[in-house]
């Protein structure tokens, strides 16, 4: 199981990481998609490029108004980035604190389906785990809310998120978060899965 280090805030390393994401994504488009938008369209890699771009196009504003979290892999490469904010949701008619994950996006090498050398599986799981642990450490809510496009729902479902109203909004409850942490500990202690 790959291990990642969790980073809080917007650091110089993240800015360097995002520049590298752009550089590598351009390389991948040339290598795997003939340098054409149409050839990459519909892929997870394509959605990742769009999502990353929507973040970097507003980086200064995001840095001022939102919270940035990231994970780095064993190569010291930025592996996944999340933009989060504090919010509240109704749970059983009671307003409770919650962390809204506005965006998560993995590095292009963790999104592209081709076996590129930089790829390290598990970055998406690691960033969700990091956010839960950070909030647990501060004694804050571990309830997470996010919006998942249809193609990504299975991943968040397997992490323990449940859909609320079919719009794509998904919630990870306190108990779901605790189960995820315990499950990941079991995975780390398992010799049969690597």
């Amino acid at each position: 199981m790959n291990e990642f280090s969790f980073v809080t805030g917007m650091t110089r390393e993240i800015k360097e990481g995002l520049a590298l994401w752009n550089e590598k994504a351009r390389e991948y488009v040339d290598t795997y998609y003939q340098g054409r938008e149409e050839s990459a369209k519909g892929t997870r890699f394509y959605r990742g490029v769009v999502k990353t771009r929507t973040i970097t196009n507003n980086l200064s504003e995001i840095e001022e108004e939102k919270i940035i979290r990231s994970v780095f892999d064993d190569q010291n490469l930025l592996a996944s980035l999340a933009v989060i904010q504090d919010t509240s949701i109704f749970v059983e008619e009671e307003l409770v604190d919650c962390i809204e994950i506005e965006s998560i996006v993995n590095s292009p090498w963790n999104l592209i389906k081709y076996p590129v050398p930089e790829k390290r599986k598990g970055a998406g799981t690691a960033i969700v785990e990091g956010i839960i642990k950070e909030n647990r450490g501060k004694g804050l809510s571990r309830i997470l809310k996010l919006f998942a496009v249809p193609e990504e729902k299975i991943f968040y479902s397997d992490l323990g998120f449940t859909e609320t109203d079919g719009s794509g909004e998904m919630i990870l409850s306190e108990s779901g978060a605790a189960m995820l942490l315990s499950n990941l500990d079991q995975k780390r202690n398992s010799s049969t899965f690597d």
Binding site: A19, N22, E23, A25, R26, V29, G35, E37, A40, K41, R44, F45, Y46, R47, G48, V49, V50, K51, R53, T54, T56, N57, L59, S60, E61, S80, A82, V83, I101, E102, S103, I104, V105, N106, N110, K113, K121, G122, A123, G124, T125, V128, L146, F147, V149, E152, I154, F155, Y156, D158, L159, G168, N183, Q186, K187, N189, S190, S191, T192, F193
Partner: protein, 97 residues
């Protein structure tokens, strides 16, 4: 001194259920994580083309400069207001005196 069985380490490891194994496998296979709302399709095409056609560093520099300009305007406005309030305090003190 007891001799450690070669299987000791393995027997201490957690033994996952077949369901867990299947779920962990799926998590790794689907770990190209993206979350959050996506722009409408036309906008996605525009953004992807912009990514292909623009130099990232130059584009970021333009954006950060525009943001800096906005912040400087806000700073100027805050400084003007601060100056105005200080003048008001001075006027009030002068009237008292």
């Amino acid at each position: 001194m007891s001799q450690e069985s070669p299987n000791t380490k393995e027997s201490k490891a957690y033994q996952p259920t077949p369901e867990q194994l299947a779920r962990w496998k799926r998590l790794d296979e689907n770990d190209g994580a993206i979350a959050g709302r996506m722009p409408p399709e036309e906008e996605q095409v525009r953004i992807f083309k912009e990514f292909l056609e623009t130099d990232y560093v130059t584009d970021q520099l333009e954006r950060v400069r525009a943001h800096k300009e906005k912040l400087l305007k806000k700073l100027k406005s805050a400084e003007e207001y601060e100056e105005f309030l200080l003048e008001k305090i001075e006027e009030r003190e002068a009237k008292k005196g």
